[in-house]
Symmetry: C2
Subunit: 289 residues, 2 copies
């Protein structure tokens, strides 16, 4: 069993990005928009800014109050869209009291949409257009597989979860006519009748359900590759903060059966930030075309 070390692979990717950035004429710039003081958002954005600095990317932070209206946020996005000094824009979710996140994400200029949530980039992904920005988590999953030497062509893949952020884009990536695609992908979800039956025949299982320990040992075949996208908090009195993070996979029981598996934390998570940096460099390059 080989543990896929997301921290180590993310570090590799970031080293390559730093090298690429150093060779550019000027610094790529990403602007984060954060609405309110959601503690998870504060810490995510901090982490992203720190990483940007490490690889030589300029980052800016636009802070807006919790009660920001839809109109105010759209106006800020329009301003950033129009600013030639800003190559990438990321609106951190959750966005305060604004209900329709899709409208917000769709307002970001598709060429600055480093988060890959804009409708145009999702469409481009379907069209297999190389200028598409792919959302960071699914892009990170492909990178993890590629750098772990996992072949996808002709393989059976079970993607568990059909979200717009992970399940659908990672499925589209894995079925594409590309080196890290060409897989036979089954998308499972809450209405799937016998989930175990589907995952058991899969060579690669991508778990993106958001419920701890959903993928158990009996649901995975020997030698499978398991990618765990879940980040769930479970109560743990033995920890100082009162909880620990676990994935969607029952890691201890599943791992011994796998050829490769990602841990949580330290698997997919670190890749997300690394792919954001890669996307920012891509946005910079597209702005020069």
């Amino acid at each position: 069993m080989e543990l896929i070390d997301g921290n180590a692979i993310a570090k590799q990717v970031l080293a390559e990005v730093a090298e690429e950035v150093a060779a550019l004429e000027s610094k790529p710039c990403v602007t984060f928009v954060r609405v309110g003081e959601d503690p998870a958002s504060v810490s995510y954005v901090k982490k992203k800014q720190r990483t940007a600095e490490e690889v030589g990317i300029e980052s800016r932070l636009k802070l807006m109050p919790e009660d920001t209206t839809r109109e105010e946020l759209l106006a800020v996005i329009d301003e950033l869209n129009a600013d030639p000094g800003v190559h990438g824009i990321l609106v951190q979710s959750p966005i305060g009291q604004i209900k329709d996140e899709k409208e917000i994400f769709n307002r970001v200029d598709p060429l600055k949409d480093v988060d890959g949530f804009n409708v145009a980039n999702i469409g481009k992904l379907c069209q297999e257009d190389p200028t598409a920005f792919v959302a960071c988590t699914p892009a990170g999953i492909i990178e993890l597989l590629a750098r772990s030497g996992v072949q996808t062509s002709g393989k059976q893949v079970a993607v568990v979860g059909r979200s717009l952020i992970v399940g659908k884009p990672v499925s589209l990536l894995l079925m594409m006519k590309t080196k890290m695609g060409d897989a036979t992908v089954t998308v499972c979800h809450s209405r799937t009748q016998d989930l175990g039956e589907v995952t058991r025949r899969a060579d690669i299982v991508v778990a993106a359900i958001g419920r701890p320990h959903t993928i158990t040992a009996d649901m995975v075949k020997d030698g499978a590759v398991v990618i765990d996208v879940g980040i769930n908090r479970v109560d743990d009195a033995s920890r100082k903060r009162g909880y620990r993070l676990v994935g969607d996979v029952d890691f201890d029981a599943v791992a011994p059966k796998c050829s490769h598996i990602t841990p949580v934390p330290g698997g997919v998570g670190p890749m997300t930030v690394a792919m954001l940096m890669k996307n920012t460099v891509k946005a910079y390059q597209l702005s020069k075309v």
Copy 2:
């Protein structure tokens, strides 16, 4: 075994569209752009115009010579996009000598894109946005299933083919959180290792490969629903025109095993034109919002 009669169902849909159109304040208008004299295009566009007339939709035809350049066609599309009297635009493929069809389709105003090929509409489909225009063939497949009383929720579906026009959008529709979605979808293609193994466990098989007789009797389980999207010409000296049309499914051998099956011709084909009319009414309605 129940034969799914695409002609009869299309007629139903068209009767409903005609009723809807009659109740509108003014006539919806669709403009067809045809480049060159490809005989199949000539006949398709004629059929679409005749159907439009039948249901009370105004149709216009913009004919352009075979050697039309990319720039000339884009200019025509821009003009139609700007014309408030035109609600729907359809650029008939193939488009003469123009290589990049995607660029052409993506230039059509997403709100007039009755063909559903624009990148924005494909993205909206992923986002499960009800304003998305869904390409006519996949939309027609869903309509056929719905009107034949086929349930999709929780069912295993094998979609054979991963094209942007059929395979991908029909897969996205069938996995959506909707009444005619919620299926567990596997997308198969040329790199799938054991196609029969996948199709044999499917409750519903959608064949969109473009190769005659690919789905044989041993590849389908008893009681399956089979939707045949293929339209292939095979030589047939006994016919006056020297060929006959067959689907991707070995109909004679497969049909006895099925609970429902579509014939070719007379299955999915007629639905495509019907859904185009439905999309045109939708475009008209969106233009009034």
